[in-house]
Amino acid sequence: MCHQVTGRGGAKRSIRLSGSRVFPHPLPDLVHTTPEGLACPLGNFHVDPWRPVDLAVITHAHADHARAGSRAYLTTPEGAPLLRRRVQNGAVIETLAYGERRRIGAVTVSLHPAGHVLGSAQVRIEHASGTWVVAGDYKTAPDPTCAGIEPVACDVFVTESTFGLPVFGWPRESELIAEILAWWEGNRAAGRTSLLCAYPLGKAQRLLAGIGGRALGPIAVHGAVHKLNEAYAEAGVALPEAEYASPEVTKRIRGEGLVIAPPSAHGTPWVRKFGEVSTGFASGWMRLRGTRRRRNFDRGFVVSDHADWDGLLQTIAAAGAERVLVTHGYVEPLVRYLNEESGIRAEALATGFEGEGGAEATGPEEEALA
C-alpha cells in the first residue's frame, strides 16, 4: 500500500521509509508559530505578528491582529487607513489589492476578501510545496460595509474558531435590524435613550449601515466610533448620518435617540449624560444567556463579525484543504469535529489572537482606538 500526498502545486511529497510504509515528507510548514507570530520563513514575513518584525502582512486592523512597531506593513488599500490609525506614523504601509499577486522571497502572496470588517483579507501564500491560506478572522454573513468572503482553494487552511461550537448560530441580518428597531421604538415611547454598545471598528458601522434609512430618530456616536466612521467614509462606505455625541447633540437626542458606543463605555459616567437609558450589547456572545446576564445589559443582540458554526464548516469545506490548522477560540472541539466527523485532517495552532474579545471582553481594543 502506498499513500501519496499531492499538493496543489503538483509536487509529490512522499518518502519511502521501510518496506511498503510511506509517510509524508517532513517538509517545513510554510507558516508556523514563532515568538513573534505566524512566520513565513520562505517569504521572510509574518502574518499579524504580535511582536515587531520587518514585514507584517495584516489580515485586518483589529488590535489583536494589527500591532504597532513593525518596520513595514502590507495590507489591502481598504484596510490601510484603519491600519494607519493603529501603527506609528513612521511605519511603511504598502497595499495589495484583493486578488493581486506579489512575489515576496520564495513565495507568492495574494489577499482575498474575508468578510470580517472593511479591508479584511485572507492571506494566500503559494509555493511549489503547496498553497496555504491564513484566513485571519472571517464571516460568511453579508455585510454592507465590506467585501464578502471569497472561498480560496488551498492545501492548508488556517482558520479561526472564535465561535467553534454548534450552539453559536446567528440570526439573519433582517431579523437583527428589526429587533434593534423594535427595541429603539419601545425606548423612545418610554422616553429613554437607546445606548447600543458594539465594537467601534466594523460592528458599529455594520449596524449603522443596516439601520440605513430606517432610523427612528437622531443617531449619535461615541468618539471612538466617530473616528472610525471617518475612516470608513474615506474608503467610500455609505453610512447614515451619525453625529459625534457632543454636549449639544447629547442634549438634543436625550430620551429619543440611538447612541452607538464601545462596550467599555457601559457603566461609566459618560452614559449618564443621556438621562434614562436602555442599554443593548451587540455581540456573538449574546447568543448565550449567561454572558448576556453577566454583562448587565438590558438587551443582547446576537451579531458577530466572526463566522458561526455553520459558517466555519462551510468555509473550511469550500477551501478544500487536505489539512486544517485551527487557531484562537474553541480550538479543541473544532479540531476533533473536523477529524472525526468531517474526515478532514486538523490540528491546533497556538497563536496570540483573541477572537471576539473573549467571553469577558473588557475592551482594550476600544481603548486603543479612543
Binding site: L165, P166, V167, G169, P171, E175, R287, L288, R289, G290, T291, R293, R294, N296, D298, R299, Y330, E332, P333, R336, Y337, E340, E341, A359, E360
Partner: protein, 537 residues
Amino acid sequence: MKGFAELYRRLDSTRRTNARLEALRDHFRAVDPADGAWALHYLLGRRGRRVVGSRQMRAWVAKHGGQPEWLVDECYDAVGDLAETVALLAPGRGDEGEAHGLSLAEVIEERVLALRDLDDAAREELVVATWRRFDLLERLLYVKLITGGFRVGVSRGLVARALAELAGTDQATMAHRLAGRWEPEPAAFVRLMAGDAAGDDPLRPYPFFLASPVPESVSDLGAARDFVAEWKWDGIRVQAVRRGEGHLLWSRGEDVIDAAFPEISAAIAELPPGTVLDGELLAWRDGAPLPFHSLQRRLQRKSVGAKLRQDVPVRMIAYDLLEFGGQDWRERPLEQRQARLREVLEALGRPEVAVAEVVDAERWEALAELRAESRARGVEGLMLKRRGSPYRAGRTRGDWWKWKVEPFTVDAVLVYAQRGHGRRASLYTDYTFAVHGDDGELVPVAKAYSGLSDAEIRKVDAFVRRNITERFGPVRAVTPELVFELAFEGIQPSPRHKAGLALRFPRMARWRHDKTVAEADSLASLRELLAREAGAR
C-alpha cells in the same frame, strides 16, 4: 406558552424593579386562569418534578440535533446550563416557523405531566415533536420544565405586590394568600385573585419575618436596652398554625412538614383554636440541641419510625405569637406577644413545644460576652429584637437582627474548578478546596461558590483556564497554587468524604495572595477542631 415566554424574557432581561413589576402586571392582567395558576406555581418556586433525566436529554439532543454526544458535552461545558444547551442544539421551529398556539396549561398538562405515563420511545417522540414546534426561548423553558429545573429570579414579595395591585388587595394579604395551600388549577387562581377573602386557605401561615445580619458594629443599632435578646438556634424555622378543627406545621419554604415531625404536630393540635406560633424546630436531647446534621435525618421524611424518633428527638422552640383567639396579633408590641406566648405554652404544658428564653443583659459588652459562649451552647449567636416592634413580613430591616458568632476559618488550596450556572455560566466559579493530608497530599475538604467579587472571579477564571491539568467531565483539576481563606459555620464528621469531615456553609472569605500552598492548613488541624467542637457539646 407565548405569553409565559414573554414574561420570562422580560423578567430575565432587566433588574429594574419597576420594569419587572410591570412585566408581572402585564402578564397576569389578562391571563387565562389555567395558565395563570401554572405561571404562579413556577414563579413562586414551587418545584416541578423531574420527568426526564439529563443523560437522556443529552442523548436525545445529540440524536435529533445531529451532533456527536461529546460535542453536546463540550457545548454544555461552554454554555453552563443544560436546558439552554439543549434548546440551542435541538431541532426547532426557527424564528420564522409557524406559531403553535399552545397555552402554558396545555404544554404542562399534555406535554410535561403527560410524559410520566409514557414509555421511553413515546416520551422521546413527544419531546422532540414539541421542540420542533417551539422557538428558542420556548424550547429553553420546556426543557427546564421537564427536567424539573425551572426557576425564575423573582422574589415572592414582588409577585405578591403585582398580584395585589391587580386583585385590589394589599401586598400583605396577597403574600399571606400565596403562602397557603393551593393547587395550580384555574379555580385556585380565581380565588387567589379575588378581591375578598373568599378563597383564603383556613390554615395558611403568615409570611415569615426575617432578620438581617447586624451591620459592622452592633452599637450602630442603638442602645442594647432597646432590644430583647434571644439565642439564635441552628434548626429550621417553622410556623405552627392551629385554627378551627385543624392544625398544620409549616416550614419557611412553605411546605407542610407534619409528617416528618408527628410529636410536634400532636402537641400543636392541643393549642386553642385561633393560635399561630413562630419558632425554630431543633433536634433536642437532655436539655440541649443536637447538631444540625441530626435534624437532617428527619427532614424530607414522609413518615418517621419509632427508632428514628428515639434517635433524634425534636423540639419546637417558640419565640413569637402571631395570632391568638383568632385575632391577628402581629401589630401588637413584641413584649405583649411574648408575654401571651408564655401563658399559652404554660397552659399547653407539652415539653415538645417550649418557649424561647430571653437572654438578659443591659449592655452590648455583656451581650458580647454571652455571644462568645454560643458555640459551647450549640447556638449560632444571638437574635436582637427591638422592643415594642410589630411582627413584620419578609426581610424588612430595622427591628430584627441576627448577631452570629464569628465563623471558623481555614486556609485552603484551590484544586478543582467547574463552570457556574445562570449568570455565571461559562466562567469557572465553582471551586473545590483542599488542605494538606497526613502524607503531604492535598485532600479536598470543601466546595465554595460565593464570597469573591466579580473582578476576583474573572482573575480566578483566567488562572483556571491557563492551569488545567486534568479533566473529569465538567470538572477541571488545576495546578495547586492559589490559597483562599474559607469561612464556615461548623464542622461535622462525614464518612462520605475522603477527608472524613465536612464543613458547614463554606464560602471564600478572602484570597490569600500572601500565602503559598505550603502555608495552607492541614487536615490534622481540622480534625482537632472537629474533636474540640464535639467535646464542647
